[in-house]
Symmetry: C2
Subunit: 333 residues, 2 copies
């Protein structure tokens, strides 16, 4: 039988601390009251966007450690990644943090692939505290994947705006009163033969749908407060809703579907189809959503981070855009 | 107390199957009798180097599955990565393989970070078969990190030659008669402030030394047949040997030290300081070394894959080269 990639964690590892920080533009977000820190400067006082990106990662990881009442030396492992080539912002932040470190790359889905991996590591009882998360920085990512940012190039309405922000958490053994990882579904690469790098939402929606279907099929009868995808944006999210509607399976399982990217910037036209970037799902999941779980507002949610696994080179070579989605089910007792 | 990143796997997960394949130039390697497949064409019949790279990954993973007597649908998860931006060769191969997939990035140390992660996943008993490994393709990597390959630019004697090759294995529950993962040390990022991207060996040697020291300190009294680093090359390996000599700790613990990169191309001058690339350690570890363990030639070895976590951009921005090394101890009963 084909593997569905769905696993349940008997030890119920808990997210015991999180921290999220964002850039200045992200102040417009309806989520902003739950961001721990908002920088006034996109570059975080550094001389390049990439160095600013790295500083944001380092600061936010330190914040997650401090907020949990821990010290860096308590952290067994950092599992993290970003979208810049060779993930140098995360690598350089890991140098400063000086914890054992393994880089993860699932593009924007790294926010969740890192948490799923942390859950397996905790389940062995060999580790006690694993830090996980992801980040993105608007200018560093935009200029790498699209145009020199100074051009001010216009994008179509399907385009998305890369978030400057990072979200990190610390996963530890089960603690009552903290949200815990109930189960997860590791996605497989899906390719609907989309080719437009300015319409990632359309490319990613089928991967999100596939992973959600698999997760729900393995958790029949479970009631969710909501399923929240990562950064499909308004356009991709509407495609996901169509896919769900036509499948006819979901309405009795969840009350509603949401998308972090579609909600992130509200209805500001400047941001077109909404937010994207590894920092989009990471800041929303580990900021406002985590806070609301902690406060008892939600009991059970499914977070489905989506990632487009292209490079500028693969696009130029005429390749389509392969995508992936990883899902994690968080519960609060 | 500072975490050493060293873990022992009580379930003794076994490497039940491996496959390695290389490009045409790698025929000169003294290791070549243990390569499963040698392509006659560097591009593996594809129109671009990156597509050839992807094809090599797909073919080699399929070979590891077939050699083990398995089918792709038996694989719970693929954990793999490469050195190309956004790891598109691995992403595209994962699309074809259609197994659940998570990308790993520790540069050339991904050959081992993927095996360590697989060991934790197996230790939970939630999975049964995890495929792990890494690959590199000479032209795809060289033109990305250094010069357009058509220039024929000269390199200094400290330069290394990126291997075209990939090595993949399948980790499963303990099986008598198969090499198993006894323990592992997850490295932390080290930076000795090296800045020369044509001398990666010097940059990586301190990371290898740090990880080896930590692993041996946690496994006092253990006798090893040898410790083999990943791709320090001749230059970096001589620096590691100096570090070991001056520390005075190692001689009673191991009979000798080796480096896959220094040995890979023998003494052919064209290859300068030796081999590099994620495919260097992956093909040597999961080809000849695995075969020799299986044949009972070795009983206990420590494999220490090294990775340079730079990008061309971080180098241009005046950054130093942060490095990492992950170690895995393989045993044969």
């Amino acid at each position: 039988m084909k593997k569905t990639g769905t696993y349940q964690f008997a030890s119920k590892p808990s997210i015991v601390s999180t921290a999220v920080s964002v850039g200045p533009l992200e102040k417009v977000s309806p989520f902003h009251p739950h961001f721990d820190f908002i920088y006034e400067d996109e570059r975080i006082g550094q001389e390049t966007n990439e160095k600013g990106h790295s500083q944001l990662i380092e600061d936010t990881c330190n914040m997650a450690v401090t907020k949990g009442g821990f010290q860096l030396q308590d952290i067994d492992l950092l599992l993290a990644g970003d979208l810049v080539n060779e993930m140098t912002p995360t690598n350089f932040a890991a140098r400063q943090l000086a914890t054992p470190f393994m880089g993860m790359f699932s593009a924007c889905a790294t926010s969740v692939s890192s948490l799923i991996t942390a859950s397996f590591f905790l389940e062995t009882k060999l580790m006690d505290k694993v830090m996980f998360g992801a980040a993105s920085q608007h200018n560093a990512v935009e200029r790498q994947f699209r145009y020199p940012i100074e051009y001010g190039a216009q994008k179509p309405p399907t385009g998305q705006w890369t978030v400057t922000g990072g979200g990190y958490g610390i996963l530890s053994h089960h603690q009552t009163g903290k949200p815990y990882v109930h189960s997860a579904t590791i996605g497989q690469v899906m390719d609907c033969e989309c080719t437009d790098p300015l319409d990632m939402g359309s490319a990613m929606a089928p991967a999100a749908f596939d992973t959600i279907q698999k997760h729900l099929a393995q958790n029949k009868g479970t009631s969710y407060d909501f399923v929240m995808t990562g950064d499909l944006g308004k356009n991709g999210f509407s495609i996901l809703q169509e896919l769900i509607k036509s499948s006819g399976v979901s309405s009795y399982l969840v009350d509603n579907y949401r998308d972090a990217g579609a909600e992130f910037y509200g209805n500001e036209e400047k941001f077109l189809s909404g937010a994207s970037g590894a920092g989009c799902s990471a800041t929303v999941y580990y900021g406002p959503i985590y806070a609301e779980l902690l406060a008892g507002k939600w009991k059970k949610i499914l977070l489905v981070a989506t990632g487009a696994l292209l490079s500028p080179l693969s696009f130029q070579q005429g390749e389509t855009i392969p995508c992936i989605a990883h899902a994690v089910e968080l519960s609060m007792e």
